[in-house]
Symmetry: C2
Subunit: 492 residues, 2 copies
């Protein structure tokens, strides 16, 4: 990979100044158009060998563009709030909103590469992480982001020359640390590991741009021009490129499905209910204070038709927990800050720290339910969402979260009975709106969408629990029991 | 204070059940109206003696209301992200948005009370903190929040009885820790310190409600009813109560002021500018890497008329800094998440961690500039903003931030020259909009507002630096020099 990088390019000062003037004006105009269109963000990764001029090039980008609409994130040591959450959380929280350019100095590649060189990560571990990165970047691109990845390369001798030169100049001496010199000793290992990483992650969605770092002028112009060309191409093309072909849904041959097969007549009488409720709530309360749970977290998602009993089931769970330990996130229309980010961003931001519980009342499945049915997003968007959701939940589980998803199933007659009941009781009246009646008319479409999502996102690590919810008592106990059993199975 | 608390109230189960039913329905309705109106948030503090039932009452509130629109924050150990920012930052980030109820279990009172009992805080230190708290709560109330503060009281014997009872019940035994018992030993000290704290912070804006914690039923009903009554009163009254009388501005007798007295003819020729710029940028670059700066942070605010050169001055500062160390926050219209919070929230969220720099291009002074002039907020709002801003900056400085505010002054002819220049140059054309021309018509109003704000918010700890900016070279060097000299003076 690096052999093919053009090494040793140099551009003299005069040529540079002339080229710079034009480039700068064009970059400023493109940056402004980016902001005015507000259609997509730019995610710019600057990675590479120590001393190859990453800091200098970033500083140059700040000089060329309007720094008020740039941001640079450095990812060195994670803070404790970051450490207690899944690996990608800190990168999600740092993503630039639409219209902005976010520069990542050090990124999701830093830790895997360093970890592999230090042999803290196995070859397999590295490849799993890289696959995860590929899917993440593909998702970013599909969500509209312009992703540009630069790798600054230096020959072994070139690195020593550069570091010495930086050390000599009092303005840059501080950039060269003991670690920089120590890393020259692992030059070969870095070439090996980085070579592998770059090959595996050189995807159509987000290809690497290898830049020779020897000459400042050459390197800066190369990056500036690549940024400008990509920006201009995206600004002129109003369509978001789709890099993952959507997998169409397969029509079923009969009407039998996971929902129609349910026995909704299952019931629990009041006396038995009280006893079971107390039992499982007591157990949940203990499990949430289990020593091993302090290193884990619990993520619950509730879906189901209107009036299926999501809210009241959640109340039976929270009654067993310490209010300081959990957070309920009711999912309604996104805020404008959420709309300026990839779809899953608004769920990532609520991911619990270790020892905590987050309960979603409706969830990230909105994309393949209401958004699919109401046409709030393109078909390609919701079709690719199944795989993105699986990746998302997989990441949570890998990081130690326990993820359980509940589909609360009622039949159409039961929904009608509950709507009418709500209209009768004063303090429940506000719970029934015009929208509920409109949704009811699309009952079959919602059922079909539910069957599809259960089919496509029932994974071993984040399974769906389908709950027969015509009888509220039965449903609540089944849910509590499912949570307890998962916790017991996991905490041992 | 506690002597007057009614101690020993008990309510039997039957009376409780009857009262609870009505209360619960009303609370649900009020909570829903709160959400639908979306006009104000509820900040509910639950504090008091160990074992007085804080956790139990919070759990009861979750049972009575819709838990999806409640959130409970516990403030035990600050995370490192919180520790590296001003004391109040973690509370600002936890404030509930309009329409929601945020319960604070442990709050801004916990650390001052514990600190005073442990003698880590002097009497004076405590009183300073309490004054700060009073101003913070007054601000919350003026910004529309309904602030309810409960203190749960127990007699010395009552505390021992309660703790023993909690320990006996396996469902609550975990609540009683070694610390709980240790704290019974400092009962007298707690009474002393808490008595003082409650007296000093028992303000008209946010009075304390003392509740006897002995009987669960009594305590829960007391809190539930107080919440309901306050909620209903605020929901029915469409006006936000103003608790701080606005101090009117005093008309001046002549036209001499800090701005008209400036000598705007001051200039720096190109050669001298290049030399001075290099000198001060070099110095700033060193200071930002000064050992002592790792424990401090730098907050810069830029204000001035359109085209005064704020953006280009900021570029001269950032050119001297590592892009990973600073963040520029351009202030435009607030997002909807920001609009759902008190005015200063959107500035607090960007406060830098230790060792970092945040530069605001326009700032929290918008309230007493554009909002005052355009009538975006009521006169009472911007009149009280001066004091709130002084408090805000004072808090930053107390926490180790270095705060510098720049007013860039140009005259009307110079602005016209720059507007025309911008219209001529292609890559600057987007910088001049209809709004700039509209603002120009209000030149005198802006000048008057600027004089007023400099008068009212020039404090020793967060001074205004008024910059003669007709000559860009002169302005840029003056700004860089001012930053360096403040940093040198502070870092020693």
């Amino acid at each position: 990979m690096f052999e093919s990088a053009e090494v040793g390019h140099a551009i003299d000062k005069k040529t540079f100044r002339a080229a710079e003037e034009a480039l700068r004006n064009e970059l400023l105009l493109a940056q402004n158009a980016l902001r005015e269109q507000g259609r997509f963000p730019v995610v710019l990764l600057i990675s590479g060998v120590d001393g190859a001029g990453k800091g200098e090039t970033i500083a140059q980008l700040y000089e060329w563009m309007d720094p008020r609409f740039l941001s640079t994130m450095a990812f060195v040591e994670p803070s404790d709030e970051e450490r207690e959450r899944p690996f990608m959380w800190r990168f999600w929280r740092a993503l630039p909103p639409k219209g902005r350019i976010g520069i990542f100095s050090g990124s999701w590649y830093s830790q895997p590469i360093a970890g592999r060189i230090a042999r803290e990560l196995s070859r397999n571990g590295l490849d799993n992480r890289l696959e995860q990165i590929n899917r993440f970047e593909t998702m970013l691109v599909n969500e509209g982001a312009l992703v540009l990845k630069f790798w600054f390369h230096l020959s072994r001798e070139g690195q020593v020359v550069r570091l010495k030169k930086l050390e000599k100049d009092p303005r840059t001496a501080w950039r060269v640390t003991k670690t920089s010199w120590a890393r020259t000793k692992t030059y070969d290992e870095l070439q090996d590991v980085a070579g592998h990483v770059l090959r595996v992650t050189n995807t159509a969605a987000a290809p690497w741009i290898i830049v020779d770092g020897t000459d400042d002028n050459y390197r800066n112009l190369r990056v500036g021009r690549a940024l400008l060309e990509s920006l201009k191409a995206r600004l002129e093309n109003s369509k978001t490129p789709q890099v993952a072909p959507a997998v169409p849904l397969v029509k079923r041959i009969d009407d039998r499905n996971v929902l129609s097969a349910l026995d909704l007549t299952q019931k629990l009488d009041e006396k038995k209910y009280e006893r079971e409720l107390a039992k499982w709530q007591g157990r949940l309360s203990e499990l949430a204070r289990h020593k091993k749970f302090t290193g884990r977290s619990l993520v619950l998602a509730f879906e189901g038709m209107d009036a299926a009993g999501k809210g009241s089931s959640i109340r039976r769970i929270t009654a067993a927990l310490d209010p300081r330990q959990f957070q309920i996130v009711p999912i309604a229309a996104p805020t404008d800050e959420e709309r300026a980010q990839p779809y899953l961003w608004r769920f990532w931001r609520h991911m619990p720290r270790q020892g905590r519980v987050t309960i979603f009342d409706r969830s990230w499945y909105g994309r393949v339910l209401v958004e699919r049915i109401e046409g709030f997003c393109a078909e390609a968007d919701w079709l690719r969402a199944y795989a993105e959701i699986n990746d998302f939940e997989h990441e949570l589980v890998e990081a130690g979260s326990i993820v359980i998803k509940f589909w609360l199933q009622i039949d159409k007659a039961e929904q009608m009975r509950r709507f009418k009941e709500r209209e009768k009781i004063e303090h429940k009246r506000f719970k029934i709106t015009e929208e509920d009646w409109r949704n009811r008319k699309k009952w079959n479409a919602y059922q079909q969408a539910a069957v599809d999502l259960i089919d496509r996102t029932s994974t071993g690590k984040a399974p769906w629990v389908v709950v027969e919810a015509n009888d509220k008592n039965f449903a609540r106990v089944k849910i509590l029991k499912a949570i307890c059993e998962r916790l017991e199975g996991t905490l041992g």
